[in-house]
């Protein structure tokens, strides 16, 4: 992880000087994480792919504004968060994005496995904010402080979202997990 960060710093420094090849390597290192984060957030492959392209394009255009190369991951996910929520707001303007627990089922099913489907269904029952908090914490491994930076919220808000989501997921998944994971 440390080596990866050091290599990222090197690539970022080169990309800031206009080195497209360095940026291309940087994209290949991060595209899977960004794509999966966006996919689970918006629930549609094509939209997630388009958003990923936009994220990396914006990152390239604004790379000079990144003050600390060590914070590249938070900064990149911040861009991804903004892009995803612009789309979610556009697609569902009537939905109040903070705290609505009833989100319509996503049309695209991701994995034809019972446990995966159960997880996906449970994630889709969360509000967008709660789901995003779980994605960043559980799947991307960010600390609460880093999440606060990405989402522009206090740490207390982040904790509250993650904990509330975990309670809902626990009710939905603990029985499935007992059957499927052990």
């Amino acid at each position: 992880m440390i080596f990866r960060e050091v290599e990222d710093r090197d690539l970022i420094a080169k990309a800031r000087r206009g080195d497209v090849d360095a940026y291309s390597i940087l994209v290949s290192r991060w595209e899977k994480r960004i794509f999966n984060y966006l996919l689970r957030l918006v629930g549609n492959r094509e939209e997630a792919m388009d958003l990923s392209q936009d994220v990396f394009l914006k990152a390239w255009q604004n790379l000079k504004k990144l003050e600390d190369a060590g914070r590249f991951s938070s900064w990149l996910f911040r861009i991804a968060h903004n892009e995803a929520f612009s789309l979610l707001r556009k697609n569902r303007p009537e939905v109040e994005l903070s705290g609505d627990p009833t989100v319509a089922d996503r049309s695209v099913r991701l994995f034809p496995v019972e446990l995966s489907l159960a997880v996906e269904r449970a994630l889709n029952r969360l509000s967008d904010d709660q789901r995003e908090a779980v994605l960043l914490k559980v799947y991307q491994g960010f600390k609460f402080e880093e999440m606060a930076e990405i989402l522009g919220c206090p740490v207390s808000t982040i904790k509250s979202r993650v904990y509330a989501a975990l309670d809902l997921l626990k009710d939905a998944l603990a029985p499935v997990g007992a059957r499927g994971v052990q």
Partner: protein, 203 residues
């Protein structure tokens, strides 16, 4: 009812510092309610992380877009020889200008600021620098274009060679298959001929 003095969710999510994890583990060992809650949380966490990441369906495909191409000033800035040449040109012009100024005023005499048209000198210097810089940039651009064309030609040739190898291999494989099929048919015909004439085939 779980105890309020332990944060089991933070514990499961890896947010409890290493120095405090032992205390939480010890408490869970003692308290049955907290132990059950921790088990439920662990199962939930395991179920969540069982969801695998998907591969990106296609490569992020904008690397060749115009927006990623360096601008003209970036190309110049990144070109070491051109920048070196430009710096040398500026330095040479500055020395030249200094020489003209010194000649106009005389070394022994004190400086006479009114005797030299500095604006004209600056214009000359500027024109000279621009001219040399433009020439250097044109050469660099021409070289870059020819390099790029050469690379593309090489790539095309490599692709053609690869395609030719592939088709050649396929043709040979097809011929081998045809030969094999003919051999089978021949053997079958022989077998049928022998059988119809009441003859036995040698093994």
């Amino acid at each position: 009812m779980i105890c309020s003095n332990v944060d089991l969710k933070a514990y499961v999510l890896g947010e409890v510092p290493e120095s405090e994890r032992g205390a939480v583990a010890a408490h869970v060992h003692e308290c049955a309610n907290c132990g059950e809650e921790l088990e439920r949380l662990n199962l939930t966490h395991l179920a969540l992380v069982s969801l695998r990441d998907e591969e990106v369906p296609r490569r992020i495909a904008f690397v060749s877009d115009k927006v990623f191409e360096p601008r003209w000033w970036q190309r110049i800035w990144q070109s070491g020889p051109v920048m070196g040449f430009a710096s040398a040109a500026v330095l040479a012009c500055a020395i030249l200008a200094h020489g003209v100024l010194a000649q106009g005023t005389g070394r022994a005499a004190p400086p006479q600021p009114t005797s030299v048209d500095t604006a004209a000198v600056e214009r000359r210097v500027s024109a000279e620098v621009n001219e040399r810089l433009n020439a250097a940039v044109s050469r660099a651009v021409a070289r870059a274009v020819s390099d790029s064309e050469a690379r593309q030609q090489q790539q095309t040739l490599a692709l053609l060679a690869a395609a030719e190898r592939k088709y050649d291999f396929q043709r040979k494989a097809d011929l081998a298959a045809v030969a094999s099929n003919l051999d089978i048919i021949r053997k079958e015909q022989t077998r049928m001929f022998m059988a119809s004439n009441g003859l036995e085939m040698r093994p």
